[in-house]
């Protein structure tokens, strides 16, 4: 039956929020399709999620030297990330404080001064305004440069992962991450890690949540979407993806941990470094790890993947951001990380396995983006709202968590949707706050 009430478009913001509260039921496994297709929901998300939480902006190894900088986005606004002469990393809004021109238009580089292309205002990489052309002459000595530094953006890091937020009252990053830190240690804290080259970037006509949902807990799709990989003998068999644990933690974070693994997935010669950086329990998980796929709320996904290429096993570690561009469009930014002290041969093989499997040409990733695009398209327009179309997220609702060596709520195989329900539960909490 068609509804007689207002369409989402006609609703006030408060009415949309009330409607979300009424129709989004993560704990019952009911998620309406309009969440992936409605521009109004997207606008509220921008304000209540992306302007409120910590959002990933990069890895500190991307600006390794004094004077290095890179530009990134935070909730749709351009940032300059700099490393100053003392080695301190800062983030600024990429906007001249005089007339608002975008100050820096390169992806990355090395310089300590940024000159605005409009009137030539000069800013140091510490944010201070240090030069104004003809200042004395035209301002008569009345311009207080100290009041005109670049807008500083709140930035904190965990194990090299840099996060920023526009929310001055945001909880400390480590509190926001909470128990997921234990797993991030395995991902990026196991050794000194570095980003290889630059991130891959491509645009997919997909709502960003489809990506987060896929990584936070969906190993079920691997059997079919990635069936070609098993056919090629790169992974054991089509059901390999079930084995392991699904874990979720507070604030919508979650992961799937593939285990056991008869082979050690990481560089053997770095075992001592791993043991130094990890607890005994974490090292135990690492030694048995086949893969690890997860998502830090809202849109930072991560992956350790172990596949057989040219008859040789190799793992690769990557992080990817589903950067929203619109309600039906996102930019995928994918960074590949490797142990800094690994051999060059390992680094090269690991990178090439990443490119082959997870990159725009990746033979895993390309099938995912096909699915993401079609899901998003089917959710567009007023009909999914009108007809109350919903997705089923009930898998594993009947199951009880098990004891696991790491923190969080764990289930003893990966085929459940508890992590997705946990993702949407926190999403709803923020949206309706």
């Amino acid at each position: 039956m068609l509804k007689t009430e207002k369409s989402l478009e006609e609703m006030s913001k408060q009415q949309v929020v009330d409607y979300l509260n009424e129709t989004v039921k993560p704990e019952e496994g009911v998620i309406p399709a309009y969440l992936l297709g409605d521009p109004k929901v997207y606008d509220i998300e921008h304000e209540k999620v992306f302007l409120k939480t910590w959002v990933f902006i990069g890895h500190d190894s991307e600006v390794p030297n004094k004077g290095d900088f890179m530009t990134r986005e935070l909730a749709g606004y351009s940032l300059i990330i700099t490393r100053d002469a003392e080695g301190e990393i800062r983030a600024f809004y990429n906007m001249c404080t005089h007339r608002g021109m975008k100050l820096c238009r390169a992806d990355k580089g090395n310089k300590s001064l940024f000159t605005c292309p409009y009137h030539g205002f000069n800013f140091k990489n510490t944010g201070e305004l240090v030069g104004v052309p003809l200042q004395k002459d035209i301002y008569g000595g009345n311009l207080d440069r100290s009041e005109m530094g670049l807008h500083k953006v709140k930035l904190e890091s965990y194990k090299g992962l840099l996060f920023g937020t526009w929310n001055e009252n945001a909880e400390p990053l480590e509190e926001f991450l909470g128990d997921i830190k234990w797993y991030l240690d395995i991902l990026v804290g196991r050794a000194e890690m570095e980003v290889i080259g630059v991130p891959q970037r491509f645009v997919v006509n997909s709502n960003w949540k489809v990506g987060s949902d896929n990584f936070v807990g969906d190993s079920y799709h691997t059997m079919v979407t990635h069936g070609s990989i098993a056919k090629l003998g790169m992974v054991p068999n089509a059901t390999y993806s079930k084995r392991g644990f699904q874990i979720h933690t507070d604030n919508g974070h979650g992961l799937n941990l593939g285990t056991p693994n008869p082979d050690f997935a990481f560089p053997e010669e770095l075992k001592d470094e791993f043991k130094t950086n990890l607890s005994e329990e974490q090292y135990g998980v690492l030694s048995n790890l086949k893969n690890m796929i997860g998502n830090v709320f809202p849109n930072l996904s991560f992956l350790i993947s172990h596949t057989k290429i040219k008859d040789q096993f190799i793992s690769n570690t990557s992080i990817r951001m589903w950067r929203p561009i619109g309600h039906n469009k996102m930019e995928v930014i994918a960074w590949m990380l490797v142990e800094k002290n690994a051999s060059q041969d390992w680094k090269d093989r690991s990178r090439d396995s990443f490119i082959l499997t997870f990159s725009p040409s990746g033979i895993f990733e390309q099938d995912d983006t096909e699915v993401f695009t079609d899901i998003t398209e089917a959710a567009q327009g007023p009909m999914p709202f009108l007809k109350n179309l919903t997705y089923n997220y009930t898998m594993g609702l009947h199951r009880e968590p098990v004891d696991f060596i790491g923190p969080g709520v764990a289930y003893d195989d990966k085929f459940t949707e508890a992590s997705q329900r946990n993702f949407y539960k926190y999403w709803l909490e923020l949206m309706t706050k």
Partner: protein, 169 residues
């Protein structure tokens, strides 16, 4: 340009046109046969540099970085029933132009640069994707045929505007 050079240019233009046709007609096995066993097939990630500093692409991260074995894997994968990214296959049209023979040793090797524009249409979507760039190709003459031994494709976008590269460049 003398007649000899024109014929030479024409010869590689023809090779590239034939290759384009095989890819557009999804004849991947025949396309794969054009490759030399020493193939290096690479597409670096393009970066946005501030000035005229070159190269303006990454020398460490690539969208493709295949040898003959990995390229074979991609071709074999497309033949499984699960290569969803190309089910149904994209309709593509490869436009090759600005062909320049940079180096040539008769019956041995050649270096050829060309421009490439790929039009890609998926399913019933009325929007299309365009992928533009320069090919830097190297050829080896083997058993009476020119085989591609190296391709570096410099794409013209730092953020690629197509959902994936399940197609070849």
């Amino acid at each position: 340009m003398n007649v000899e050079k024109m014929l030479l240019k024409c010869q590689f233009e023809q090779w590239l046109y034939d290759e384009a046709q095989l890819l557009d007609d999804i004849e991947f096995d025949d396309w794969f046969d054009l490759m030399h066993s020493s193939l290096h097939y690479q597409m670096p990630v393009r970066v946005n540099k501030e000035g005229v500093e070159r190269p303006d692409y990454s020398t460490e991260m690539f969208t493709f970085n295949d040898d003959i074995e990995l390229l074979k894997l991609r071709v074999d994968r497309l033949k499984t029933d699960y290569a969803w990214a190309e089910i149904p296959p994209s309709r593509t049209r490869r436009f090759v132009s600005n062909v320049r023979v940079k180096d040539y040793v008769e019956g041995e090797k050649a270096v050829v640069k060309s421009y490439l524009l790929i039009y890609r249409s998926r399913s019933t979507d009325i929007q299309h994707d365009l992928i533009s760039g320069e090919r830097n190709d190297e050829f080896i003459f083997e058993e009476g045929k020119w085989k591609l031994s190296k391709r570096i494709f410099i794409v013209d976008q730092s953020t690629i505007n197509t959902r994936n590269l399940a197609i070849f460049v």
